[in-house]
Symmetry: C2
Subunit: 126 residues, 2 copies
DNA sequence: TTTATTATTGCAACATAGTTGCAATAAATT
DNA sequence: AATTTATTGCAACTATGTTGCAATAATAAA
């Protein structure tokens, strides 16, 4: 179930994403908003924003949960099957717009695929 | 640091992988070997077997750690950058031999990529 | 505007996966 | 057989995330 009431918590979390073109980990958000919001609230609001197609989530190499803005998703349809990139030096994570082709595999029905690419980002590869 | 002494624990864990063509999660191993080995030992031995290029590890959709046999890896070189497949019905996970091409991305140095494909396996898609 | 309804929040306690320190044990070497 | 030290088991811990429940606040109704 998604958002029903426009609350302070939701405003605060949306602002975090408005001011960032990158993905943000749930942990980072709980720390960053520690004075303002309880960590349970952070997790619950993120969950609702995802339900509503406002954010999407994925796990990084260590199994940590990250969130990023969706582009044209709704609460009924999510279109965020894109790969993600994590910089091994600065740790920044972002969404990639490239499309990676997954070939058919004999005798298997492919539903989804998660792709996490690692390397050095623009700033870190100089 | 890898294996130095050939112990009972190592034999037991190697046997588990000898009898399975699939990947096995660390959790599953701790449960399966609960009577024989302490969970700390299981985690430590898996870690060493990975160091030695005998096993390789990866995380599934939920961030759970899985291990599978390596093919031609050594303690100096790991060649296990292949994609993995997890059946959404029976939960089985295995290594795929297909090669998925990751295109170059402007201004970024790609090091590795993790690909987890989900769908129904041979048995489950009938 | 006031009152009523109920979604949302904060808190504490819990769950799960994996890790660490340390004394006891058991491989390997002498 | 004695010595060395890698490995193990245990308990306690860490980290990330979840749950139950009473208090609070957003919205609807009066
Ligand atoms: Mn994304
Ligand atoms: Mn594999
Ligand atoms: Zn970077
Ligand atoms: Zn299956």
């Amino acid at each position: 179930m998604g958002i029903i009431r426009k609350t302070r918590s939701i405003e605060i979390l949306l602002t975090e994403f408005k001011n960032s073109g990158y993905a943000i980990s749930a942990i980072e958000l709980t720390k960053r908003l520690d004075e303002k919001l309880n960590k349970t609230t952070v997790y619950r609001v993120l969950d609702k924003l995802e339900d509503d197609g406002i954010l999407h989530s994925f796990l990084d190499k260590k199994g940590i949960k990250w969130y990023a803005k969706c582009n044209n998703c709704t609460h009924t349809k999510h279109f965020d099957a894109h790969p993600h990139f994590q910089c091994i030096r600065c740790g920044k994570v972002d969404c990639l717009t490239i499309d990676i082709h997954i070939p058919k595999i004999p005798n298997r029905e492919i539903t989804v695929s998660q792709i996490l690419i690692q390397g050095k980002c623009e700033s870190c590869s100089i």
